[in-house]
Symmetry: C2
Subunit: 321 residues, 2 copies
């Protein structure tokens, strides 16, 4: 549907200033299908696909399904989990693509212009496709979302992954997209023909209606997470046991629990057992977020505030023991 | 959703007698996604995937997307376009799978027990996975639909492709499935996780409701095609210029136009230009259906009857010229 592809293009252009038309957009059965399709487009079997650590849990399976070989670029808590130019350079040999995610799940990082420029430099130097997962682009708590597709020389080597899941709370409708050069998009339309035949028209209609509600609707969807992030930053102020890292976007916070002397996994397990609070250990997202836990800001404000107090009290108990 | 997978399993078991449970079923974003997933499951990159000629037009792209190499097994109009054991045997070297489709698009063939036994023999001998596309299983005009999964020794090497598209006229909802051994299904669930994350729950709910309407509803959907097939067989009786081939199932008829001296492509083009009737040339489905045209029984009865008369009159005109 040209109308729906055009609406996606208009949203991207309005947010980035990069001229974008329906010929730059293909629709997929969710952001997951967009990630799979983007890697299918730019990686041949055996090519190395780079991704940053920590990473969203489905990334490895999605990339392996395309036949590409996985290699991780580590990031550091101390650098807000943002990937650095030299770390990419050092691992770019034989790589066809780099997958980034800003705003980031699981870390809550939003990549700055400086970070993105470093990524772009590394991609141009090593002739990498940049696959930029921007499904949380409507959830930025400090500054603004920047897409690397807007940087010089990047439009022709960037595939942006988008989705209705987060910005419009339409996760269950499985509606995503890829934005990129028309010749790649043409190939992805062929791939869609052979793998799904397309996305139900009535879902596309619903998504078009949702998109036409404009940025005010997206702000409304994002507001509770913005509010809970403020609650958390206040609740965790004036102590050094539990340190929020990054916390610039997305509906997650990464908390550094290393001062308790515990691993993220041990902390999370204890927390579940003793306080009945479920969080994800940083270790479940690779190796770079060891000693951290990821908390999802998806419970109501009161429960959120209470849970943070419990987490803090649990950490203190561990240190007093 | 176990309820929906169980409903698919019950439908298959009721039609074939083969004990089938939810552990034998995975849900996909349409039959096309099921075909892609099934080939991903059993073919490694570079493996040969066999398919019959003539073939549904998306098959080559779907198979190539998995990284498998394509090899066709020819069928013959004179044998009702049913694949023969020896033709499969002769092409099985290095092959990992064979894709069949019964009832067949584009030919309208429904494979007999004899044909299916020959296919099963060839698959067992050459250690092939059989991918059996049975999306038209509710549209059989003579005899009954048989699934090769019910034949001795075939349950462990057969993946059945199904869909709500044809039997329940839910093409636009993109809801399909694969039925097979639990260990393959487990792998396909992993693949779904990495490629689509699943199918919208509300579509699964709708499909479950449709399935619960039972066989009477499927018969109602199939009735117009059954009626139009009778109209066509009567309309084409007592002449030898246009010969319906197979015509045992599905919403298509393959018509042999070789007696007119024209190719299917030339006949179809002329027919469009001079009579404003659009049909598919047999040549668009491979090489085995050259000199044929495929007509879709998807116009109302009066238009269908009139179109057949026009086609016959057009053929006579060609011969008189």
């Amino acid at each position: 549907m040209a109308g729906w592809r055009a609406a996606i293009a208009r949203r991207f252009e309005a947010r980035t200033g990069v001229p974008t038309g329906p010929e730059n957009v293909t629709v997929t059965a969710g952001g997951q299908a967009a990630l799979f399709a983007a890697h299918m487009a730019v990686c041949d079997p055996g090519d190395v696909a780079l991704m940053c650590d920590p990473f969203y849990t489905t990334y490895p399976g999605t990339i392996r399904a395309t036949g590409a070989a996985l290699r991780t670029v580590p990031t550091r808590s101390e650098a807000g989990f943002a990937p650095q130019r030299d770390d990419i350079r050092a691992r770019a040999e034989g790589a066809a693509s780099l997958l980034i995610n800003t705003p980031n799940n699981p870390t809550g990082a939003v990549y700055s212009l400086g970070v993105l420029s470093g990524i772009a430099d590394a991609c141009r130097e090593a002739d990498l496709w940049l696959i930029s997962d921007e499904v949380y682009d409507g959830q930025v708590w400090e500054g603004a979302h920047l897409s690397p597709r807007a940087l010089p020389g990047m439009e022709e080597r960037t595939l942006v992954i988008g989705s209705m899941s987060k910005t419009h709370a339409m996760t269950g409708s499985r509606l995503g997209w890829v934005i990129g050069p028309p010749e790649v998009i043409d190939g992805l339309i062929e791939l869609a023909h052979g793998t799904t035949y397309g996305v139900p028209g009535f879902i596309q209609d619903a998504a078009l209606a949702a998109l036409e509600l404009g940025p005010a609707f997206e702000d409304k969807i994002a507001a509770p997470f913005r509010r809970r992030r403020e609650i958390a930053l206040q609740g965790l102020a004036d102590q050094a046991l539990i340190r929020p890292v990054a916390s610039q976007g997305a509906m997650y916070m990464m908390l550094d629990v290393r001062a308790t002397g515990q691993s993220g996994a041990a902390f999370a397990e204890d927390l579940l057992e003793r306080r009945r609070i479920a969080v994800m250990p940083g270790e479940s997202f690779g190796t770079a977020a060891a000693g951290h836990i990821r908390v999802a800001m998806t419970v109501d404000d009161a429960a959120w505030e209470a849970a943070l107090k419990e987490i803090l009290s649990h950490a203190k108990e561990l240190c007093d023991a």
